[in-house]
Amino acid sequence: MSHTVETVLRSHPFLAGLPEGTTELIAACSSLATFEPGQLLLSEGEAADTVFLLHHGQVAVEVHRPAGGSLWIETVGSGHLVGLSWASSPFRWQFDARALEPVSAVAIDVGELRAGLGRHPDLGFALLDRLMGRLVDRLQSTRLRLLDLHALGDDQPR
């Protein structure tokens, strides 16, 4: 079955339950995109002008090491959003995002999206509210990882 932007968006978990019109608004500024394993979706330091809703495949959010190679900060799978820096100034990617396997996604033009949401503030609020939920999830999981739980010894089973 060949997918269109509309069919992918209508079944995408990130958009589930959002007000009528949201999918159409996003579809108007989106296109389908595919990536081969190893290909970058986002590059650190570049303008955050496109955000991706993953339809299929795994993506690693990573940071490169001066000594070579990359560290993977987290992996993001189908049904999720890749890229957060588009939502806030200075609108530059802070990390790389690399396809770990064949990836298909909906690529959303951030400039057009912002303009569309400006015309429909109710949809903008709903979408940002949804985005806020994902941000909170990521913040909380980041906080847990900051604790380096596996390195603590005082409350672990022996």
């Binding site: 190679g69 560290l71 993977w72 992996t75 999981s141 596996h150 010894g153 089973p157 022996r158």
Partner: protein, 290 residues
Amino acid sequence: MTSRAELSSSTPAAPGPLTPRPYRVTGRKAEVGDVVTLSLEPCDGHLVPPSAHGQFNMVTAFGVGEVAVSIAGDPDDSGHLEHSVRDVGAVTHALCTAPVGAVVGLRGPFGTGWGVEHLPDGPDVVVVAGGIGLAPLRGAVGELVRREREGRGRVFVVAGARSPDQVLYADDLDRWRRAGSSVVVTVDLGSTGWEGPVGVVTTLLPELPFDPAGAWALTCGPEIMMRFVARALVDRGVDPRRVLVSLERNMQCGVGLCGHCQLGPLLVCRDGPVVPYGGTADRLLLERGR
């Protein structure tokens, strides 16, 4: 004081629960990081006492001290016990460096188990382990994988580790996966070559494809992790009374006499370590300062 009866007795009394029995180290395997798995068998030729998955023994490093260690092997498998010990203090260091042939003391088993042998057929079981928290779950998972192969219910294993080279029991995880069970290993920090997800175990639970209706969950690891795992499972619709956690406290006597492991109304060595989250651990895991 020695009693007259003890002096006149010709047959030695069976050791009580506070008396360690000598066990010989028959195998020693360096696992990941500072974890060592010891295989032990009784020096006196007796059989290893039967135990349930999730129980623990008190293991003595003679001249150093005694420590509670979860039973990490399948008690039904063979005539020896397996204990995975993390080198975090004087006693565990002495145990981790004990060579094959060394003699340690052991008493137990103590405490409550996971109860997987009593699970009804049908419901899914979710197992979430962090780091060495997989040790007390290892035998239970083996049992649950067998249960799944017999068509009696699915098991979903989620294991977290600090990094790919810190994944405990990687061979077992592969074996369970090859047996057809769902096994996902996530690491806090990944790099090229790692094929699994990167992130904390809780991030995997919202999309884990189990049926929460009637499901059971077993979790063991750092307490903070267990709190968040339990909440995430309850958010998915799992009955909190069917979420079991394994608590770690200062277990010393093992039989509920000394009180060192008291946690609220529980003596963890006797009433735990495995307790339900709902109605018990949900309150206790929030207690501060112990």
